[in-house]
């Protein structure tokens, strides 16, 4: 008993020691709970909310792009997508069979769906078929009862009402690229977000985008949305109004497309607004929004007419004879010739041992600047260019908008090239040759310009002001109440070229179109109130081509298409008070292999005639177009 008592006391004592330890440990637990739930509670509350609350961005509707009269060019079309939620579908194969009875569903689609289902939680909606039309959507919707777990999701997809006719001006949208991901805008992270990749869509992308809406949702640990806590709808993108006149654009595109590869621009030089900017062939811009198939892409890239290039702003061509009014302007302004200065054209011009030909084999005889422009005499301009010199030509060219960017509000514009002595020395290390001045004097050799620069150049000749092109109309859609420009008052400064010089040039260009022997006499506008002036041009593609033609071996369509000369025409109208200007470039002479006067001038004739008939002072639609209605589908 004594022994037992001894160990009993030990037991009691040690039990008390253990109890003390237990109290201490329980106190530690209580202390820890206090630390977590009182001291650190705010931190953990925040973490708990971060766990459960997901902010989801809502893509705002992209702004519409409309023409000057409100005709929609780029809208958002509702698109329907059939999705299936596997956990609600039961037997997925039966569901797929049932869906396949209603809408086309390929074997590849089925494999993709089954793979997606395996790779996702069963509550994640899997796309069965994307971008369905209304009929397909309706067929699925009507049979929804027999399709458990299948539902229709509606979204918006960019739709270009006029398709390829506006593909270069309006541009297109496409999924966000890798580089574009480095943006402050959180929208770019969204899989169905699209950004402008070219044209106005790219230039005004930020305005068109709008502001993202947010949906605050509660999610569980697997990411399933439990409920929506708050929602803030985004702000739709701004509507962009173009100065474009879609009817004119339509004519321009049709006429250009008929020539294979061509471009045409019509500008209201009083405002600088681009009324038509055609580059043919176009492409289907909508295909980019949903993603281009490799075959589609290859077809676009391999097309010899190069549909992806906006030739009106990014095509660079020798201006050919359309350059002659510029050389004349430079010479008149420099005082090296007067309107009465005469040169004799025997059909060729000798410089040292080199012979420079006039396009007319027999020559033009004695002529002054007016007839030289009208009949496009090369020899006259060899003389003139030689007198005025390349640097003064270049100076005047830049002043009239050639060889410099026009700063039009659409990306991808090329600068072209107006050579100078300094440029050649710096680039090639070889001094400028006198003969090169002669070649440049008739718009060949190094000289290259874009069709848009040609239009601006003729606009400046026609008005005497430094016209700048602009695609977007700041004044919004034209209505009956809109103010209409009455003269060149759009803030365009005078160029500082003497009026008498301009008069001579314009008069000569009047002659080109409206007098017999003028190179574009066949394309004149008959209506005396709408008469146009212009200048033809033929741009050499290969020197050989010119020599062959000179020898009369082959002409026109007998030369391979790629080797034929380009046909150019620049024009303004009406001559009495020039307002509308136009430039047309038909690559390789178009379908008939013709020259500027034969192929390009008729297009300019149609466009300028139509532009004047549609003069906004006279034409405003009776009922303004309701763009918002169309956007809603």
């Amino acid at each position: 008993m004594k022994k037992s008592n001894g160990r009993g006391k030990t037991l009691t004592r040690r039990a008390m020691v253990l109890a003390g330890g237990k109290v201490a440990l329980l106190a530690a637990l209580a202390g820890r709970l206090y630390y977590l739930q009182v001291v650190q509670a705010p931190k953990f509350s925040m973490l708990a909310d971060e766990n459960r609350i997901n902010i989801r961005l809502l893509v705002p509707p992209r702004g519409l792009i409309v023409d000057r009269f409100g005709v929609p060019l780029a809208v958002n079309r509702p698109t329907y997508q059939a999705v299936v939620i596997p956990e609600q579908a039961g037997n997925i194969n039966q569901t797929l069979d049932a869906v396949a009875d209603l809408v086309p569903l390929t074997e590849a689609d089925r494999r993709r769906v089954l793979r997606d289902i395996r790779n996702h939680h069963s509550f994640v909606p899997i796309a069965l078929r994307e971008d369905m039309d209304w009929n397909e959507m309706a067929r699925i919707d009507v049979n929804a009862v027999d399709l458990p777990g299948v539902s229709i999701e509606q979204g918006l997809i960019r739709h270009y009402v006029f398709g390829d006719e506006t593909s270069h001006v309006v541009g297109y949208v496409a999924p966000v690229s890798e580089q574009e991901l480095n943006s402050d805008d959180p929208l770019v992270e969204l899989p169905d977000f699209r950004v402008g990749k070219s044209g106005v869509e790219k230039q005004y992308d930020l305005e068109l985008r709008g502001t993202a809406g947010t949906s605050e949702v509660e999610v569980n640990a697997f990411g399933r949305v439990v409920r929506e806590l708050a929602r803030e709808d985004g702000i739709a993108g701004d509507q962009i109004v173009l100065g474009l006149d879609m009817d004119l654009q339509d004519i321009a595109m049709r006429r250009c497309a008929a020539q294979g590869s061509a471009s045409a621009i019509v500008i209201d030089s009083w405002t600088g607004e681009v009324l038509a900017l055609a580059s043919a062939p176009g492409f289907n811009p909508g295909a980019f929004a949903s993603g281009l198939s490799p075959a589609q892409w290859k077809a676009l890239v391999d097309n010899p007419y190069n549909p992806l290039e906006n030739k009106a702003i990014a095509g660079t061509y020798s201006p050919g004879s359309t350059f002659k009014p510029l050389v004349a302007t430079a010479a008149l302004e420099a005082g090296v010739i007067t309107p009465d200065t005469e040169f004799f054209c025997p059909g060729e011009y000798h410089l040292g041992n080199t012979v420079f030909h006039c396009w007319k084999k027999g020559g033009h005889g004695t002529l002054s600047v007016r007839r030289a422009i009208k009949e496009s005499c090369d020899v006259f301009f060899y003389h003139t260019a030689d007198l005025v010199g390349i640097d003064r030509i270049a100076q005047m060219a830049n002043r009239l908008g050639l060889g410099v960017k026009t700063d039009i509000d659409v990306p991808g514009e090329k600068t072209g090239l107006i050579p100078t002595r300094a440029w050649k020395l710096a680039t090639t290390g070889v001094a400028w040759q006198r003969g090169e001045t002669l070649s440049c004097g008739i718009g060949q050799s190094f000289v290259s310009v874009t069709p848009l620069q040609l239009a601006i150049y003729v606009a400046r000749i026609a008005t005497g002001h430094t016209i700048k092109p602009v695609l977007v109309r700041d004044d919004g859609v034209m209505t009956a109440a809109s103010s209409v420009a009455t003269d060149v008052s759009h803030g365009f400064a005078p160029m500082g070229v003497q009026q008498k010089t301009l008069d001579v040039i314009r008069d000569a260009m009047y002659g080109v179109v409206n007098e017999p022997h003028g190179t574009a006499y066949g394309a004149r506008i008959q209506d005396p109130t709408m008469i146009m002036g212009g200048k033809t041009g033929t741009a050499q593609v290969h020197h050989i081509a010119r020599e062959i033609r000179d020898r009369g071996v082959v002409t026109g369509t007998k030369v391979p298409w790629k080797d034929r000369d380009h046909a150019l025409f620049i024009a303004f109208a009406p001559v009495a008070a020039p307002r509308y200007v136009c430039s047309v470039v038909v690559e390789h002479g178009g379908a008939t292999g013709g020259e500027g006067g034969a192929v390009a001038a008729p297009i300019a004739h149609d466009l300028l005639l139509e532009a004047q008939k549609r003069d906004p002072a006279r034409r405003v639609p009776a009922v303004p177009f309701d763009a918002a209605k169309l956007a809603q589908g």
Binding site: K22, L25, L33, Q37, V38, F44, S45, N220
Partner: protein
């Protein structure tokens, strides 16, 4: 009532025993179990299904077993101790063998209606067998280190087997529970120091033998934020749940962590997180207080017992319960690594409920037979 109860009486009738039950303790245990039901109802997103309903049934069955255990004479338990230990040991080996033959690690045996984990029973069996061993040992023998070899093996062999399963939590419980019995029995403190030193020497070796996930758990315990989506996920999410509960909690059934499935194992080992999240600091402290009262009862029963075996048993079971509670709560709130120990009476699980209630049954038996004097070999003394 005195006429009903004669303290010197070594044989009591069943009705007398029932009257002598520590009913307040039964009420306390039931209260804690009810907290568990409420938490499991919440864990099931406000539904009796799938956990709460089954837990209630289990509790009722286990309560009957507890009563039955309490009615059995304390001396029977003393005599059954070795046998109980041996049977548990055989089951443990059976699990081990089956696990080796079958599909990898298995901790339980399927009895059809219930799956039992022998390692859980071992916690009680170990207390019983050590209580009996030390009961039969005079104080001077306890000083003899050689006499400690057998009880040390009684602890270490099952602990090693459980560790190999691998179940670090239960292994730690067995070692700590056994060590507590040594301590209570009066083993000299320097021997613990020696054991500790030996254990320290073994740690690098043991570390080498730990499974990768066990190493990760210990490493991420030291800095869980390092790997929030990997090994630290459990402990970080548990801390977020408890911490975001604040003082008064988010309200019953309103815990976002629990109901949005951010808490892993929320119905078993991490059930305390639901309490902490939905009832805050107040809820957590109330539950800890309830447990503390249970421990006090356990101690009171031990002190009240006239037999050395009864005291050892009562202290041992109480200490075991304490270890359950402490290790579980400490790991949930990030004081200890996540080792996998259930919260007694609250966590969902049949074996742990059965084990804990069996323990309470033994505790009650000590209480009911508090005045029975027991000799070194289980014979009644007068």
């Amino acid at each position: 009532m005195r006429w009903l109860y004669d303290p010197s009486q070594t044989q009591q009738t069943l009705s007398v025993k029932l009257l002598n039950m520590n009913w307040p303790l039964v009420a306390l245990v039931t209260t804690i179990a009810c907290v568990g039901f409420a938490m499991l109802y919440s864990a099931g997103n406000g539904s009796w299904h799938p956990w709460a309903e089954r837990q209630v049934v289990r509790y009722l069955v286990a309560a009957l077993i507890m009563l039955a255990v309490a009615m059995v004479d304390i001396r029977v338990w003393l005599r059954a101790a070795y046998g109980f230990y041996a049977v548990t040991m055989i089951l443990l080996i059976a699990v081990e063998v089956r696990g080796a033959i079958g599909m990898g690690a298995q901790r339980w045996i399927d009895l059809g209606i219930i799956q039992i984990q022998p390692s859980e029973f071992m916690k009680i069996a170990l207390v019983m067998v050590l209580a009996r061993y030390f009961n039969g040992m005079p104080a001077e023998e306890i000083r003899n280190p050689v006499k400690l070899i057998v009880p040390a093996l009684l602890i270490l062999v099952p602990a090693a087997m459980v560790l190999k399963q691998p179940d670090l939590g239960t292994a730690i419980m067995l070692v700590l529970g056994g060590a507590a019995m040594f301590f209570l029995a009066g083993v000299r403190l320097w021997k613990f120091a020696v054991m500790l030193a030996v254990a320290g020497a073994v740690v690098p070796f043991a570390w080498h033998h730990l499974r990768e996930y066990q190493k990760n758990r210990i490493l991420t315990f030291l800095n869980p934020e390092n790997d929030p989506l990997g090994a630290g996920y459990h402990s970080l999410q548990a801390k977020i749940a408890v911490g975001s509960g604040g003082v008064f909690g988010k309200g019953y059934l309103s815990g976002t962590q629990a109901h949005l499935s951010f808490l892993p194992e929320r119905q078993t080992d991490f059930i305390f997180t639901i309490l902490g999240e939905e009832f805050g600091l107040v809820g957590g402290l109330v539950l800890l207080a309830l447990y503390a009262v249970v421990f006090v009862y356990g101690y009171a029963i031990a002190f009240r017992s006239r037999s050395h075996f009864g005291r050892l048993l009562a202290f041992g079971i109480t200490t075991n319960l304490f270890l359950y509670v402490f290790i579980n709560v400490a790991m949930v709130i990030g004081l200890l690594p996540v080792v996998g120990v259930p919260l007694p009476l609250v966590s969902y699980g049949g074996t742990s409920m059965l084990t804990v209630m069996f323990g309470f049954g033994l505790l009650m038996s000590v209480y009911v037979h508090r005045d029975v004097r027991i000799g070194r070999y289980g014979e009644a003394e007068t």
